[in-house]
């Protein structure tokens, strides 16, 4: 089987690859977003703590 045949998925390329694509994107967003949110929150809290120490 060559690559072209593989990507063609027997004529169902759109349905198969769109399914896999959307699954990948959704799973990536759900796994990564809490990490970004946590980093932002901790950075912001660390700043607040520093400001409190100064005053």
């Amino acid at each position: 089987m060559n690559w072209q045949e593989f990507f063609a998925m027997g004529g169902y390329a759109f349905y198969v690859w769109f399914s896999y694509g959307i699954t990948f994107v959704v799973m990536l967003i759900i796994a990564i977003s809490p990490i970004i949110q946590r980093k932002q929150f901790l950075r912001q809290q660390a700043l607040r703590l520093k400001r409190q120490d100064k005053s």
């Binding site: 004529g11 349905y15 399914s19 896999y20 959704v26 796994a31 809490p34 946590r38 929150f41 809290q45």
Partner: protein, 252 residues
Amino acid sequence: MSIIPKPVGLFFHKMASPPHFYRFTGRLIPWLSWIFLILVVVGLYGGLVLAPADYQQGDSFRIIYIHVPSAWMSLFVYVVMAVAGGIGLVWRIKLAEIVAISSASVGAAFTFIALVTGSLWGKPMWGTWWVWDARLTSELILLFLYLGVIGLYGAIDDKRTASRAVAILALVGVVNIPIIHYSVEWWNTLHQGPTVSKMDKPSIHISMLWPMLVMAVAFKLYYVIAMLQRARTELVIRERNSQWVKTLLESI
């Protein structure tokens, strides 16, 4: 306490302590992520390359390797969420509340994936993106239940009160779970009947089946990873004024 072995009891006791949970999961997640990645690569290779095309559905059946595991997980995560919510409701364990709400968005994602991939599979096979049959409709209600849980939690400022409200909603919604599972047997549906769970005589060949089981394990690991990431974030936000989070902040 007597029916639970002492080390197991001790483990759960320790895990209920927020700083211990935060540290332990921080070390656990990289390991789980590697196992997850290996399983996904193996499962996708088996499903997209090794498995033969279906004699009726051609290559379109390969959507099964994400559709079925995510549909299974959409039910599994809901039950975990309701049980964790119930534990939080009865024993007021903060980490149970956090596990419950952290499961909601992951479960909603699985439900969304199951619906969308099902639609993308239905179009070439049934000739329609959507029908209001029992399986599809009850799965759509599951998505609304998840979104209801997420919305309700966000709408109440006090997160302990929010957790209690969410737990009750989640527990009431459990009634939908057996309806989804048995919908293909109770009603005449366009959606096909079970192929795998008929363990005595599964109507799927082993070369098509094993990649799906690998993907199912991978998706379960993904749930644990994504849920724990959310739980860690939720935990530091809720505990922002506690000593252990302050200590954590000093190390940044």
